[in-house]
């Protein structure tokens, strides 16, 4: 196969057989309870230097409680797949957790821009679609996939993509390498104690993100019975054998919105974005993360029941978000 051009961005060499071996030796097929606390899950399944991914962002169905726990435990040198993100990479970078990012897109953020401009974190360029497509390749057990975008651009030059001549048609086509994350953290609407999980609403890449990871931590708004899961199997987004930990955290995406359950907290969003702009993220993290042992304690002491009820009332759209 003729390689016509190669991007010079850094990527981890795909290793589908290595991933298979990991699955063979580390992923339990047993239907056993995986319920634990966020502290236990992050201690056990997130290591310094891990390649981290998550679904959606801190504004909508992002795994805020798990991200806060990663920051609280001061995990270091993470390589983070950033696409369609909001302030989530900013808080991870401000927490000192990140040494390298894949960029699909980050929202205008002083913290991210400064870190890149000052060379504090290393970058490989991709697009939003290319990152989730690489995860799809990883989730299919393949080393790469062809795609019909990214080519011709400076983004391509700074990515890990290649341009080849397709051996079937003789036409030019780009390839991207598979991405198998070390650890994925994903927030879901419902799951059972084994990890069979349901996500409602538009997803970014819940299936790909969960499937391509060596280790998978789910946080969930609600733990439902396994009988309930088996009554409506069509609704299961993630089957249990991919899941390593189930963390029950109602309002687990706060300050973000959980579609069909509660809206985001606009005051908190403004506070977070101002902290990012004014370069006072340390104080923000001290106030919202380090000062507490857990997400629940933070909700209890800083947010309160009145506010949480208001956020539930603010989500006036319920159709389609229930089993």
């Amino acid at each position: 196969m003729d390689v016509l051009a190669s991007g010079k961005g850094v990527y981890r060499t795909p290793d589908p057989d290595g991933h298979r071996e990991w699955v063979r030796t580390h992923k339990s097929r047993e239907l056993k309870s995986k319920v634990m606390t966020a502290k236990e899950a992050v201690e056990q399944f997130v290591s310094d230097g891990d390649y981290l991914g998550y679904d959606l962002n801190i504004h909508k169905r992002g795994p805020t409680a798990l991200m806060h726990e990663i920051i609280r435990q001061k995990k270091k040198n993470l390589w983070v797949a950033v696409r369609f993100s909001g302030m989530d990479p900013a808080i991870l970078i401000a927490g000192g957790c990140v040494s390298r990012i894949d960029i699909g897109w980050f929202i205008q953020s002083g913290t991210c821009s400064r870190a890149i401009q000052e060379g504090l974190i290393k970058v490989t360029e991709w697009t939003n679609g290319a990152v989730v497509y690489r995860q799809l390749a990883g989730a299919m057990g393949l080393p790469f996939l062809p795609l019909r975008y990214i080519g011709g651009t400076d983004t391509f030059e700074q990515s890990g993509a290649k341009l080849i001549k397709d051996p079937f048609t003789g036409q030019e086509i780009c390839l991207v390498p598979a991405l198998n994350l070390d650890v994925a953290v994903v927030h879901v609407h419902q799951c059972d104690e084994f990890g069979n999980a349901r996500i409602f609403g538009s997803g970014l890449s819940p299936m790909e993100t969960c499937s391509c990871a060596k280790k998978l931590i789910l946080s969930t708004e609600e733990v439902v019975s396994s009988d309930e899961i088996r009554r409506r199997p069509q609704l299961t987004t993630v089957p249990y054998y991919m899941v390593d930990a189930v963390v029950h955290v109602p309002f687990g995406t706060y300050p973000g919105a959980m579609p069909g359950l509660y809206g985001s907290d606009p005051e908190h969003m403004i506070e977070m974005m101002m902290a990012d702009r004014m370069d006072t993220m340390d104080a923000y993290l001290e106030k919202w993360v380090y000062a507490f042992e857990s997400h629940v304690e933070m909700l209890d002491k800083l947010v309160g029941a009145r506010k949480l009820i208001q956020l539930m009332q603010a989500e006036t759209f319920r159709e389609g978000y229930r089993a």
Binding site: H59, G129, G256, Y321
Partner: protein, 273 residues
């Protein structure tokens, strides 16, 4: 004597884009920004049967209100969709050719319709100002049949060559440049829209071509806000001024607080009889 109308440059930009949107066509619209506002304006005025998808996988929604990305893009933005899918599914459907037009706003667009959303000034390794990257714009600009770009009419936003091609236009302008880079055939930039101008692209050279200009500015005013000289259509058309209906829908239904519409500069214009 016609009545004097007042509107902001933001309103005029949205109206110029909305006027391009057609019934029974399918659009991939950038999520939660001005392209979405233009789409909602069109759906409430000239094109109620224009359909769209956004990159999180929301297919043909019918939202009641405009939902900015940051203010908790929750159920409101997904309301009454025909399907809730994911980013890869949207990419597949675009790759198969279902999406007629993409609509994107951009930091910089150059004479070949290449767009930049990665950095401005300095070098890639040492940028003066770093931005968020291509996001989904690369997919949209690569695979939709035709792409509509929105860029304010400022010299720095219309450079001869962008500092970094985040998402593809006609690349170096040469014949089949996009196909040689692996992009689908017969695709590319269609229109570039500002608050005072509408551009297309020359079919042979792929150089940006001025098609129409707002009646309240001169050609010299416009060219002063570009780093390169575009081709100029003959005859050069006049853009229609905002209608009362368009302004009412924008102000009463799409952005009642004026938080976004009010960010533009105010224009006072009296149409000639």
């Amino acid at each position: 004597m016609s009545e004097t109308i007042n509107f902001t440059t933001t309103e005029s930009m949205l109206i110029n884009v909305a006027n391009l949107i057609e019934n029974d066509k399918y659009y991939w619209v950038a999520i939660g920004g001005s392209p979405m506002m233009a789409m909602m304006l069109a759906r409430k005025t000239c094109a109620p049967r224009a359909y769209y998808v956004v990159e999180d996988g929301t297919i043909s929604p019918d939202p009641l209100e405009y939902v900015p990305f940051l203010s908790g893009a929750s159920g409101a933005a997904e309301y009454r969709a025909v399907a809730w899918k994911d980013m890869n599914t949207v990419g597949f459907h675009c790759a198969m050719g279902y999406y007629d037009y993409g609509i994107l706003d951009c930091l910089q667009v150059d004479m070949y319709g290449n767009i930049n959303s990665t950095f401005i000034g300095g070098t890639y390794e040492h940028p003066e100002r770093r931005f968020g990257g291509p996001g989904g714009a690369n997919e949209i600009a690569s695979m939709c049949w035709q792409t509509i770009f929105m860029a304010d009419q400022e010299k720095r936003k219309y450079p001869r060559r962008v500092d970094f091609i985040s998402s593809p236009g006609y690349l170096d302008g040469s014949l089949r440049a996009r196909e040689r880079a692996g992009l689908p055939a017969n695709t590319g930039p269609y229109r570039v829209v500002s608050e005072i101008a509408m551009f297309g692209f020359d079919e042979e050279t792929h150089i940006m071509k001025l098609l129409a200009i707002a009646p309240w500015v001169t050609l010299d005013d416009l060219l002063a806000e570009m780093d390169f000289e575009p081709l100029i259509a003959d005859p050069l058309e006049k853009l229609p001024p905002p209608t009362e209906q368009q302004l009412t829908v924008l102000r009463a239904e799409i952005d009642p607080g004026g938080r976004i519409l009010g960010q533009g500069t105010w224009i006072e214009y009296t149409p000639e009889d």
